[in-house]
Amino acid sequence: MDFDLSDDQKMLAKTVGDFGKKESTLERFRKLRDADGPGWDKATWKKMGELGWLSIPFPEEVGGLGGSFVDAGIVLEQLGKTLVPEPYLSSVVLGGHALWLGGASAQHEKFLAPMMEGDTTLSLAFTERGVRFDARCCTTTARRDGDGWVIAGEKSFVLDGHSADHFVVAAMSDEGMQLFVVDAADTARKTVRLMDGHRAAHVTLADVRVGEDRRLSARPATEVLERVLDFGAAATVAEGLGVAFAMLWMTVEYLKTREQFDVKIGTFQALQHRAVDMFVEVELLKSIHTESAVRASEDGEERARAVSAAKLQLAQGGQLVSRQAVQLHGGVGVTDEHDIGLYFKRMHSLVTLCGDEATHVARYAASMDAT
């Protein structure tokens, strides 16, 4: 058993962490959040591509760096620490992994390669209005039409869908669930501003015609979705660990500097113990994040169990950290001016995306050994 990162992984963590501290600070995040643009910028995305961060989890045969999902987790954890807004979760983890797992090599070349280079972004369009976290509930349809397909339906809360170049769209056909690559230009989309400063889109597919070459058929679509959503859930935990870590230490720092009643408020035992509760939850999150990041690439039930256990810890521990961090900051914690609230909002998204607490507890309970 070995929990150490390899030297390459340590270097990756340091590089991404330094990038966050120096080039993608909270100030940058705030500016992009408040501007009218997409909420992130293309030059930074291109740079991430050049540094290999976008290709690292993909195998060499599809043009990736041949790392593992653990590496993607390392990137996400570090990005979470300063709330880097680029669409890593949506494009690399959700869209990218769907293309990788579902696609054939021509599709990898055409859609995955430019994304890994930072020239395009992908979004996975699988959620629909009024449906909770089950990708199998799908009212968007696909029917064969000549040698191609016609897709019709609406997708809601498509993460970073407002700026994506291509969508991987889940649609139901007579032959079961299918995944297609659809050009964003062929859809009508409306930007939705999210609480955490990110954006999503509502995407309308009004009888969009695509060729058979746009269908991802290397694996059954339901299997691809199941695996990709586990990658996605593990990714929310990885980023959530970075967010929780940042909130913990920002709060500890506040307790060490803020004075009331002529003493540092960090001397108050009740607040000390609260900070320790936060620390304990962050450590538990770190532990189970490690398991979920490692097992996310595995086959079998243990993958789903580890990922669901990690999501529960994010929901319970991560939110305890997030709520206590605001509380311990007192009045300034509930102003938009202070940074702690930015993390608070992001934590809510990460807890919710790719299945919330109730969803993952129910899934775990269903597969739990009875003895």
């Binding site: 509930c137 509380q327 509930v334 809510h348």
Partner: protein, 393 residues
């Protein structure tokens, strides 16, 4: 022992309900329906309607224009207003400074200020906290220097909620640096348009412009605006803090939140296609919240019965603040959980149903409930000392 309201009280409740239904303007009703945030002009519009009806200041004595209500009537009126989702009146004039003016003011001050607070002609805000004086209020540094017939005030107040709409601010200021820090504090009433007074609004986590910083740069304040004795402001502050605690039981607010949670749970469906309100997990969560709320509501009734007998709320009223604020947050969290990914939307009328639109900002803003009006940690310190009699370190 009798837990029921008397027939007269029930009749009064009906009267209030009917009056609200008939008199709340449609645009306010629409907002109430969606638990939306009310802008200050809307709040004042509602204030004036209640004033015309004679119900704007149910706790004021008759001599100053109050309706002469019993504690139970006051409670019923408040509960019905909360349940109807009516705009919450600004408390700074009606609930906070007015009782102090009645108790500590001179006749001229009473005549000058009270009628306009009642009518809503003048809007007030509160100048207590400072950047380095929050929980530790007595550390405040805003100075008021004696300059003959006026004070010259310099300093910064923070959390001066709705200062941008206010005509007047009541402030705790330092008039002496001698003795214990509590001893040199005075209570001053300052007109907002005084030269040297500047307001800088800031956004809350819920993106509402409720909070402000208010800056004083050599602002001249006539001495007649001193309320109570010079250097005696701390006693006024303490009298007010007790008042504030009983404001925050928030029973009506939580009941309304719970109603919203049920509505959301009827709207959103689980993987099996059934509304979440039929899902045992979510139904159980809703039930637990309602059951806990029931215990809180009974605690509130107990406090009310004590007030009915003329007893002043003691430190045990801190419980109402502690439990009320917790339940408000729990209800918000449950609403968010029920909404699922829709809870990620931010001020977006099209992405979600209109009645869902205000849930996320409210969830964010309500993190303040465990902080404001004396943080829950401060309330616990008070209870530990004054009720449990635990020793100080």
């Amino acid at each position: 022992m009798d837990l029921s309201f008397s027939p007269e009280e029930e009749a009064f409740r009906q009267e209030v309900r009917t009056w609200i239904a008939e008199n709340m303007p449609p645009h306010l009703k629409a907002k109430a329906e969606h638990a939306a945030y009310f802008e200050m002009p809307e709040v004042m519009e509602w204030h004036k309607l209640l004033y015309a009806k004679g119900w704007v200041a149910p706790h004021w004595p008759k001599e100053f224009g109050g309706p002469g209500f019993s504690a139970t009537q006051r409670f019923i009126l408040g509960e019905e207003l909360e349940l109807a989702g009516a705009p919450p009146l600004s408390p700074f004039g009606l609930v906070m400074v007015a009782p102090l003016i009645m108790r500590f003011g001179n006749d001229a001050q009473r005549a000058r200020f009270l009628p306009k607070i009642l009518s809503g002609e003048e809007v007030w805000c509160q100048g207590y906290s400072e950047p380095n004086a929050g929980s530790d209020l007595a550390s405040l540094r805003t100075m008021a220097v004696d300059a003959g017939d006026h004070f010259v005030v310099t300093g910064q107040k923070t959390w001066t909620t709705y200062a941008q709409y206010a005509d007047w601010i009541f402030c705790l200021v330092r008039t002496s640096t001698e003795g214990k820090k509590q001893q040199g504090i005075s209570f001053l009433l300052v007109e907002m348009n005084t030269p040297g007074v500047e307001v800088k609004p800031m956004q809350t986590l819920g993106d509402t412009p409720a909070f402000c910083d208010t800056f004083f740069d050599n602002a001249k304040v006539p001495k007649e605006n001193l309320l109570g004795p010079l250097n005696g402001g701390w006693n006024l502050a303490k009298a007010l803090l007790g008042h504030e605690r009983t404001l925050v039981a928030a029973v009506g607010q939580t009941r309304r939140n719970l109603r919203l949670a049920k509505r959301l749970a009827a709207h959103h469906r689980g993987a099996d296609g059934k509304p979440l309100i039929e899902d045992p997990h979510f139904r159980g969560k809703l039930a637990r919240l309602e059951m806990r709320l029931r215990a809180h509501q009974m605690t509130n009734y107990r406090a009310l019965a004590e007030q009915q007998k003329g007893h002043h709320p003691g430190p045990e009223s801190s419980i109402l603040k502690l439990v009320g604020s917790m339940l408000v947050q729990e209800a918000d969290e449950l609403c968010m959980e029920i909404m699922g990914q829709s809870s990620l939307a931010w001020h977006d009328d099209e992405a979600v149903e209109p009645f869902e639109r205000w849930v996320p900002p409210t969830f964010c803003y309500d993190r303040a409930t465990t902080i404001y009006a004396g943080s829950n940690e401060i309330q616990k310190n008070i209870l530990a000392k004054l009720i449990l009699g635990l020793p100080s370190a």
